[in-house]
Symmetry: D2
Subunit: 319 residues, 4 copies
């Protein structure tokens, strides 16, 4: 293998740059040239690419976002569009592709694999919802961004004895809300994986008041409902007044944490090794402290399993 | 003077604790006892108070929020309620009161002064909108919280070539939006002190696109309109799609910056000196690097003047 | 079991407070009273203790350091001193003890177990060097503190094209230096677990210069040698001029990261469950994403194994 | 004026990039081309320069260090070397030069002015020691870096009841140590502007112990003595044991604070206006909230005045 390509796809996540750097540097060690594709699959089809030298990825390990830009590109579901992508890569002498993104991005990679083009997926999403890996790149950074924001809100909540609702990202997956709930000592955590019950939330709030808790913070994953909707329910069902904070897009940015940088570096290097070893249609992951690869289809066929013991813990510790 | 009291009132601001500490420590140097009043004017009327020793304010200089809690208490406008507050203080042997808060909080202090009770105001609000002082406690911290958030949003904006609207606090005052706009290199800043013109905003966005700017961030003070409303206007008037981020309550919290801690320390110490010197009905402020005092009524009679040169600069530098 | 005690011992680590909180709150769920021992084993012997209510551990999850204070207390090796500790606990009705600290702290716990007093150890040290667990409380926070510092140093190194040596904590264990080296993209990492060879370091520096690298950062664990000593060696052996930065004690402090808070919460709750289940002489740990317990003696009999694959990765990615 | 140049010189300071950006953007508004000189005066002499477009300074406002690199270049004191610099600029059509740096960097600029080449100086140094301006670019960021580090050290100091010495930058100027001392609540601050007296420091430590202060932090500016030297003096003169932390080079780096970014933007824009207005040999500064210019020679003839009232305050508040 003499030449491979790398792209970032879907929502950006902190650590994507660290993964790109690792791909380029590891490839250099193995005497492989790396082509960076701009704008994800769209750039692949439109032929927007550049050679990445070792120096091009210097001083990016600490940067949020992605140097290669990302884009959502629904057209990539079309067979002829995929053919164009493969044709472009073959013409450029590219023999394998590394896709950095969430499980949605893996589908495009799998389509290319089915047409005979070797692809490897690296999981990068703040949602931590890629089945088959215990962590995804970006989750740890987003977690720390959320708890930093909640710590700030707590200052105000404490000073005024208020009840706050904090809405965090997570459409189908509640990991970010759940881990943040434990880490920030939230009074209640509402996630898609656990049936929502307004009576429970009200009961928790009342119990907190009863034991003299002077403020309370409830974390809700956007996938269950918006913070505003929850505020309305609490008002209507129990006359409880709350303030709502929607953390929004800042959760996707920021300089990656140590953990995300290390994970991204490990994933990037391993992905190059996998391609060189002739693997194709494999997703990279971490399990029990080891970097592993597994069938790409597992990542979107299975459901992401959340840590329900942690949910119970969140409930117990915020009495 | 043997005994004074201190309270925090209105919205909390980072650095209030540092001011409380300075009051207690400076008073100690002058052999004056300090009584801390909980929950602002409400606690004053209800008699919720405690003696603050030097050690009680140890290790709070770095904490956001306020150790004395704060509250809004509209009832304090009533004359008999004010009388009760003064009676409570006299009974406790308190000879002067230091009020830490925004210009709204100053009104209550002025009412007490009119009834013969010495009060001194220390300006603390993230809005920086207290007339007569160049800075208020909390503004610098909030500014850094905002630009930290915008820096994170920029990572995502850059990666996806998006247009973002960031809504920041500021009902009547645009300082936070304006300084953040300059500091974050925003493409446009919308503040209450400058007439809003949707055509201008659209023109600025188009110009940015024309010169190849790959993303853009618009900062809007909540006092002008919500981020969502601005998004709607841009969509309806020019077909421009944006993403909206509302920074919300986290802007009030966090460990105070160096500047806010120093300012709070200076204000707190000066306020004690002012009381001891027999001053009453005075507001503390900073002008030209000097700590000053001035008539409390100035602080709510005059209008806060924003730095319009800085607005022009924001416009020029984000071409 | 009706009453248990908790103490923190040895060097403090961010997340100790989160662990104390979890112990108190989980015990409350199980109707167990918790006694907090001040100053580690010393306070145990001197009888410095207090009851910890649910509210006493409110708003400490985000605080660095330890609310119970810590101390080193060599006298605890003496049998009669240990007897005194047990007598104190028995008199207070305490039936089990949770020790939060490094493997050094575990020895004292083991001595108590041998004398018939149930103890459980929770690993908390920024060195990540407790055998039997993949992570210790505090390591993740320290890692992020180090890379934050190195990112700042990089700004200066880049601007001046300098070579920097950064000395980080780690007497016998190189995990902090190693993970930071990968995460910060250090040009070389020097850790106790890998034989030091000055020629290798010089060769790496020269290679970096050759490929046009404009600055370089070398991370050295204090256990191998001081930064100053390394600077001297580079100067004497190759005429290379460097600047040295010793990160020092700030590595032990700071608000714990999300990961450390979650881990501490899990460990604290699990430790209470273990005591209640009649376990004694067990250490808590995390392996493959699961919280486990294992024989306390393993933690100081075995050697901590570092991740040598990560060392190789650090070497490859900083070409 | 059609073309001007900009360079950064001396030690780097956070906010230099924001100043470069402001120079380029303000010049664009006035239809002036900007040439960036690499490596300060050395690059000027060696002809290392590049045209800076509006887009070249995009997304650098938040970056520490300097995009133009910096260097110390003692040869620039020689007259013929200065002639070469002027010849290079004239050949490139450059009509004015903006120098971003400390007062040392101003000397080179003044030499060029004396030979007839218009120069304007922008003060950028973390030491805040440029006479004639109340603040320099970088000081505010360095201040926050120091107090962030001291806050972390405080966690450890509190947990172990230790006495810590923190050595901060500042050869001839104590502003950084002084402001950090107030902001971090240090038990003593030792700066070049105040005569050092070991007995005073010892007395302050003893007094703190007497009133039950459980830990103490002493901040010393490197210009007075090293932290290690102070530790030795305390040991020898009073048997006091301390731990020493030398903050080092990280103080120069990091993303600039809001204040530094705003100041840098104001200075950069004003410098361009000054050049266009035909000014030469002027330094830019801030006084009483206004951007001003003054004779460049004032900046190195006068002595920087420190705020001694703040020193007294530091002493009083840390009783």
């Amino acid at each position: 293998m003499k030449k491979i390509a790398v792209l970032t796809s879907g929502g950006d996540a902190p650590g994507m740059n660290a993964a790109i750097r690792a791909v380029v540097r590891k490839a250099k060690v193995l005497n492989i040239e790396v082509i960076g594709i701009y704008y994800g699959y769209q750039g692949l089809v439109e032929g927007q690419m550049t050679t990445l030298q070792v120096g091009d990825v210097g001083s990016i390990i600490q940067r949020g976002g992605t140097k290669l830009y990302s884009a959502r590109y629904p057209d990539f579901k079309q067979s002829d569009v995929q053919d164009q992508a493969i044709a472009n890569m073959r013409e450029a002498g590219i023999e394998g592709l590394i896709v950095i993104g969430g499980d949605g991005s893996y589908r495009g990679a799998m389509d290319l694999v089915k047409k005979g083009f070797p692809c490897i997926g690296i999981p990068a999403t703040i949602d931590n919802d890629v089945p088959g890996t215990q962590y995804t790149i970006g989750f740890d950074t987003a977690l720390n961004t959320v708890i930093d924001a909640v710590d700030k809100i707590r200052d105000t909540a404490t000073s005024h004895e208020n009840l706050f609702i904090v809405e965090v990202m997570g459409r189908d997956a509640g990991d970010l809300a759940l881990y943040a709930g434990v880490a920030a000592g939230a009074g209640a955590v509402i996630i898609p994986e656990v049936d929502f019950c307004i009576e429970d939330v009200i009961a928790r709030i009342k119990r907190g008041e009863y034991r003299g808790k002077m403020y309370n913070i409830i974390i809700v994953a956007e996938g269950v409902m918006s913070g505003t909707e929850l505020a309305r329910l609490l008002k209507e069902n129990a006359g409880i007044t709350t303030r709502v904070s929607v953390l929004g897009h800042m959760q996707r940015g920021g300089s990656p944490t140590g953990r995300d940088r290390v994970l991204a570096s490990q994933f990037g290097a391993y992905a190059v090794e996998a391609l060189v070893a002739g693997k194709k249609g494999r997703a990279i992951g971490v399990r029990n402290h080891e970097i592993v690869d597994y069938d790409l289809t597992e990542a979107f066929k299975k459901e992401h399993a959340t840590n329900l013991a942690l949910y119970t813990l969140a409930t117990e510790l915020s009495i």
